[in-house]
Symmetry: C2
Subunit: 420 residues, 2 copies
């Protein structure tokens, strides 16, 4: 027994010794160590290639109104290409599986069959106050979240119960309490759509399914947006919903399908984007500081990988293309990017349809960075600070979202409390 | 101190209890738990999609000679599409960096500039016996191997010195001792092409570079085969080499660029395939037994991912398309796949150009499995046994390769000892 403990202590001591030897801060930037400046390290070469990759469909502030309109159509076609949604006819109709009463609203569970041999489920929260033609929100969760977490229902996998601010993050409850119909989906691989996580794994495995999809030329986002679009189309035919007033609200990971749906479906009325606005290519370029073990990892996992995406656009471009439809950002980013999108809304004649808030910590202009480009060699912590992100305060900002939506619908004579 | 040890013991006890609860063997097959048989788990749905994915360019045993020729051209075009090699003009010429004498041969180090701002290096081992117009072998290492390991030189990263049978796995030495010129490349991310592995990480990180390449629509194999083709083309202009007698020899990971180069460049004379022959789609379909923690991982990492590859073909198809050029397999697989390739060689009129050996353990037909399809729900161990792989004996089989090459060249009046 003593021998075991001794060996544990030795192992710890060695790890500390090794950690002391490697100072990651001195290796944050990828660079050549040759006198001719050429790169020999593959990691440095591919990083350089990524930096040099042209972006075919970037939004340009110099666009005329006409060019902007043409660009939007090109961008839509390219999003469609990249998402590779299959066209399948003759699928059976969705069915209501159950209904239960909660305080002030009913919750229905539905299932649909978006692919052969496949079932997906979603919740519909209908306020007791609702009449026909009620505005509705499609709620898309973030990583690790489920439709149950967003709807305040018991979790499918109790060990994965929403731990982070559950009463702020139950997005659908906030909407239904204001008289809106809330439709809530799961992201693939989570909740009811998980594999063995119910009985064994310590976290949801998104990556293996993402990998299988990539192998057949698809992607996690392509698959997710296909399912979400299926539910969105179902919403348009769900009687209580006013199909011209469907809002898409995405939290964190859920902002990715939001951008895809927004570009593929011009009938979506408005958008709630609850995450910071990121230039993912820039993030990959500047986040080159190695971790404590010397690995210089990619900033996110392959569930975010869409081969060919960065050759065409980045998130701010996809958002700019949503103009003139109303959109709200609740968790900031760089003013540089918001100014770009602002210009798209100006071009589309609806400058007032674009609203953004920074994290409270970075609310004062003097307290936030206002960079036009981010220096290379960042750690995740330094990067987040430079793009004005306060990770501890990453939650669904009902306090911003609900007033914005109420005002938006009120302006159109569509107060969302449709009956007292 | 006591408290810490107690907490360690409690942690251990819990882990054991959890491990006992989950019996991976009872969950090896992905299946529906619904009465209608529909799948709800994303992992099961995407697995089902992969199974159903059509393969556009599979080799068919029913091909006529004419159809076979047409299919080879189509396959070549598709490989070209998927590999996405850039066309870059005006690159500077490769340069010899150093030369040293070894027993019976000289070793030159060269560097080339296959992309802007980029350098790659390779070794050329030239037997003292060589005259002009000597047959040559392009040697491509396996995972974790370097050109130094294959050439028996001191490693660039001493902690990663070839540990597994170094005197069998120094592929280039085997060739040069027989009078052939051996050209040896690194796989990207290893040896001289590594990043911080020289000072910190515990293993070569291929995956991050692969990820960066995938982000821009390329792939690790696309990039690797581009570099290897660059060196192959250099070989054709290297005076001592008889360019009509260039053999490509790949070990393990190196068999992937071998197949790509073989299909892209019809001038390659022959191939040494030192790995088992795998149907990678089948492997992904049947390897569904979860690990001890309940994760049902993909069988390999993203350095093997080429989006769209499996929609078109698999390894046996790529090999069948090499007919009638001589090829040797040294580490078996399923006779089912070898019979397929045999048929391609029959069609091409050169049945004797196709040679395969099984692992010794599976050499006797009675000792190996001869399945036409592999049942789902395998572990990696059960899978390897079913496809006749003896992982402990995975090494470069000089004892098979050298006699095969000597015979091949002798038959053409090209004994490889060009001077005594």
């Amino acid at each position: 027994m003593k021998k075991i403990f001794l060996s544990m202590i030795i192992t710890c001591a060695c790890s500390i010794a090794m950690a002391q030897e490697f100072n990651s801060a001195t290796h944050c930037v990828l660079q050549s160590d040759r006198s001719d400046g050429k790169l020999l390290s593959t990691r440095a070469i591919v990083q350089n290639l990524l930096e040099q990759t042209p972006v075919a469909l970037a939004f340009k502030e110099s666009f005329t109104t006409e060019e902007f309109g043409e660009w939007q159509l090109k961008l839509r076609d390219k999003v469609k290409d990249l998402m590779k949604h299959p066209t399948i006819r003759g699928l059976p109709a969705a069915q209501k599986v159950s209904v239960a009463q909660r305080e002030g609203y009913s919750i229905e569970k539905w299932e649909g069959y978006p692919l052969p041999n496949t079932v997906m489920t979603w919740f519909v929260l209908i306020p007791h106050s609702a009449m026909q033609q009620t505005p509705a929100v499609l709620c898309i969760p973030g990583s690790g979240q489920t439709k149950e977490a967003l709807a305040g229902e018991d979790p499918v996998v109790p060990k994965f119960k929403q731990q982070v601010m559950p009463h702020k993050n139950n997005m659908a409850i906030h909407f239904v309490k204001e008289g809106l119909i809330a439709v809530v989906v799961d992201n693939p691989c989570t909740g009811e759509a998980c594999d063995l996580e119910k009985i064994a794994p310590a976290y949801y495995d998104y990556e293996t399914s993402a990998r299988v999809l990539l192998e057949m030329g698809w992607s996690y986002l392509g698959y997710t947006s296909y399912l979400d679009l299926y539910v969105l189309n179902w919403m348009k035919n769900f009687k209580p919903i006013r199909k011209e007033r469907i809002i898409v609200s995405g939290f964190s990971l859920g902002t990715e399908p939001l951008m895809v749906l927004g570009n593929l479906d011009p009938s979506i009325y408005a958008f709630v984007y609850n995450d910071f606005l990121c230039r993912t290519k820039e993030r990959a370029i500047v986040l080159t500081c190695p971790d404590s073990k010397g690995y210089r990892r990619y900033p996110n996992s392959i569930r975010h990988l869409i081969p060919g995406f960065l050759n065409n656009f980045d998130f701010p471009d996809l958002v700019a293309a949503l103009a003139p439809r109303p959109i709200l950002f609740t968790e900031g980013g760089l003013d540089r990017d918001f100014n770009l999108i602002q210009q798209a809304y100006v071009l589309s004649g609806q400058q007032n349809h674009f609203t953004f808030y920074h994290y409270e910590k970075y609310g004062e202009p003097s307290k936030r960075s206002n960079l036009m480009s981010i220096p290379k060699g960042q750690t995740i912590e330094s990067y987040l600070d430079l793009v004005n992100v306060d990770p501890d305060q990453h939650y669904f900002k009902a306090e911003i979202v609900i007033p914005w939506i109420k005002k938006l619908l009120a302006e159109e004579g569509m107060g969302i409390k449709v009956s007292p």
